[in-house]
Amino acid sequence: MSEHPNLSKWTELAEKQMKGKSLETLDWTTPEGIKVKPLYTAEDLEDMESVNTLPGMEPYVRGPMATMYAGRPWTIRQYAGFSTAKESNAFYHKALAAGQKGLSVAFDLATHRGYDSDHPRVAGDIGKAGVAIDSVEDMKILFDGIPLDQMSVSMTMNGAVIPILAGYIVAAEEQGVKHEQLSGTIQNDILKEYLTRNTYIYPPEPSMRIISDIMSFCSSNMPRYNTISISGYHMMEAGANSVLQTAFTIADGIEYVKAALKSGMDIDTFAPRLSFFFGIGMNFFMDIAMLRAARFLWHRAMSGFNPKNPKSSMLRTHCQTSGWSLTEQDPYNNVIRTTMEALSAVLGGTQSLHTNSFDEAIGLPTDFSARIARNTQIIIQDESNITKVIDPLGGSYYLESLTSAIIDEAQKIIDEIEELGGMAKAIESGMPKMRIEESAARKQARIDQGLDVIVGVNKYQLANEKIDFEIREVPASVRDEQIARIKEIKSTRDQAAVDKALADLRTAAEGGGNLLEAALPAVRARATVGEISDAMEAVFGRFVATTRCISGAYSSEFVADTRAIDNIKNRTNAFFDKQGRRPRMLVTKMGQDGHDRGFKVVASAYADLGFDVDISPMFQTPAEAAKMAIENDVHVVGASSLAAGHKSLIPELINELKKIGGEDIIVVAGGVIPPMDYDFLYEAGVKAVFGPGTPIPDSADKTLRLLEEKYLS
């Protein structure tokens, strides 16, 4: 086949409609750097390896199962958890009654990082971004009335994966459910934690061993259980474009496979239980193509290990719509965004899906917003007839071209990572993190210039934002409740048995025993999540991240109109001339939340704009941040908060600053802070609050204005 016979005629027609402008001006370079034309034809598909294949068959581009949704639709699996186990359990029961099919548990940040609720470092985090779990007693409450032999349960846990998975297994035992009956997924994807989300506990090496131990325990005891969910979602949320998400996720997968093979397992015993987790954003066709490309690439990568079982090279995935794409402004628009993204995941052929609630940029989902989110999927499944045909976009000139382009681009990065010695080594080198941060900074710059449109944020903004729906907040009493329960457990358990079990676990950590197996007796004896984590930390140590920050990417993406950023640069220079130094700002992230995208983008962009920016280590307490602000003698502290800790952590920071004489240091706050909390923060002494979506030139302008008023007038 060659050029369409009428193509030149079409070109003529099109150019006439363009009134003299060249057709090339309609080309679009995507954030991934892929060139997209306004029209695709059959010619584009010539010699394409990934086109015209069949579902359920290699290379699985069109789906891992032969019948896909025509046989059975994807699983509606909503991720939820907040406050206490009791509250979350009640929420699960309601959701299951209303059509949800699988459970997916969100844990709070203290649990993720292996701290019990009574630990002083985590006072601001208990029950906020997920449910607080301190012991198997909490686990039992969480799954009360939910038969674990029938319900597939997915758990997002990576750091404290040993005590949590052991807790789930023991809770099932005490329901009378055998290990082999358990089905579900544990995220257990530690590599991406070092890359983006930072909810790790131990250094990479022992963490990789934990993963191998879990794979090995489950392959012999829990054959229906997915031992890992290799996740690109958090990379996308951190700013990775779709090619980066695909490449890094597949590369992570390859690294896990190599680790398992190295520990002596046979490929076909564990590879069929590897599952994936992709994030789906607003780039509609791109992310459909991404899922198809990922299946192709995984099959290609796995073929290198010569599996006998076809399931070993079949990519099965869960998807979630992008939380980052949700806006605090005009929030009902989020229903539409989530619907688009859900459709993209479905047309890409996902095996299960979480759809976000429209209020998630503001607070925790309520019964109302959770219902709309769930119904988004039910309506696609039951009302639209989309499920009737397998891979309905297969063969589309455009989509197949995009699929092939992603395959090619991602493969280049995968090869690059192989050259560095695999993903673990690549992460050590800092390469993937830098790429993601660069991609995030560029995206921010496009949004701030209005090149990427976000309705309600940089186009058609509302004059008056009004919240006319209920907002769920986690009461501070959750922490007290948890602490009371820890006390009670510790006073009623057989302490000698706990001590022995923890000592045995430590021995296993030092020697070579299976850590999951060794943790089960400790959980049965009512050792807490914190105690079990500590026992292993005593041997492994706690990992400390190296924070590096890119510079230059933000301002270099400013191509169209540089007036806003030039204005700020001039003013920071003027500040220098009058004050003898540049405006100096400490950007800090307190509490256990490890999402550092906003914090990094701000640091890097402000430096580009002429600020001297100090960045604090992750996971700081307010007192530690205050010490740093004083020593570095900054003019202003920017506190980033994404996980609902702002109401306690930020006022505490202001207090700590006062205690050591830093009352003149200005404090501003940014991140996911619901509008109804602004006044509370202003009263506490915060001088400016920047909600999600605030363009950086705007926040920098306002911050600088505060400094100018104070120092230059």
Binding site: A545, Q579, G580, R582, A607, G610, V613, I615, K627, I630
Partner: protein, 325 residues
Amino acid sequence: MLKSAEVYVDGVKNGNRLMLARTITLIESALPAHQELAREIVDRLLPETGKGVRLGITGVPGAGKSTFIESFGTMLTGLGHKVAVLAIDPSSSRSGGSILGDKTRMEKLAINPDAFIRPSPSGGTLGGVGRKTRETMLVCEAAGYDVVIIETVGVGQSETTVASMVDFFLVLMIAGAGDELQGIKKGVLEVADTIVINKADGDNIQRAEIARKEYETALHMLMPASPNWSPRVLTCSSTQSTGIDTIWNTVLDHRNKLTQCGEMAFKRKEQALEWMSFLLDEGLRAWFYNNPEIKKLLPTLKHDVENRNTSPTAAADLLLKILTQ
């Protein structure tokens, strides 16, 4: 908003963290009024200085300087020392702003009550780094920090400036792929009191040992800068905290040896004099070039010399005479 020198002096003497930090800001400031106040403060604090150990650390980017200081400094506070760290960050982008991330790699030390860490954008000139860092070091000593560590990246010239203000200069290296001596300037080795091969852990231990031997050989071929001290080559792992105590013992050994024979006192005097003559040179140049009449005459005379209308000697004479009038 400026307070009197008194307030700063008392604050620093009392070890007040805030006042120490604000004094450093004055020292670093580009404003003449701030600099003047800073000079007065430093002068009045001078009697309180001089008792500490002054350490300079350099190495290529990523050698592990900050990680080393985290481990080293934590050990020192454990021994009862108070540690100040001055991190000079040479990076500044086109706009002039910079990202100061040193504390993210000194997480434990950053929250240690016996430690004070101050990252500084180097911003201005080389002389600037010299002046600011030297004075900052002095006020840290006056505030009771008995070990002052200066971290500087081993590119450019800041490391020789730093070497000329410390008692002990440590060069941190990593074992590379063979050509060890590439990438690091010979000049740096000449001023090193000890070379440490960092990251001697995991599969890297052997390579570090090989590199250690290579550096030892290389050092043998150089004339030691001091007759009383032959530079050593050691290995350590900053992440595992191994070999760190040996380095501190080496610093103490160096200190004992040089103190006993009087070289330490001599070195400090020498450094002070060198610094004074550097400042004199700088001052004279500034004085000369800022003279309005010279500013006016200089371009014409340059032109004349170029076109051989005047001899260089005559032109220089003429200009210098203006100053003495």
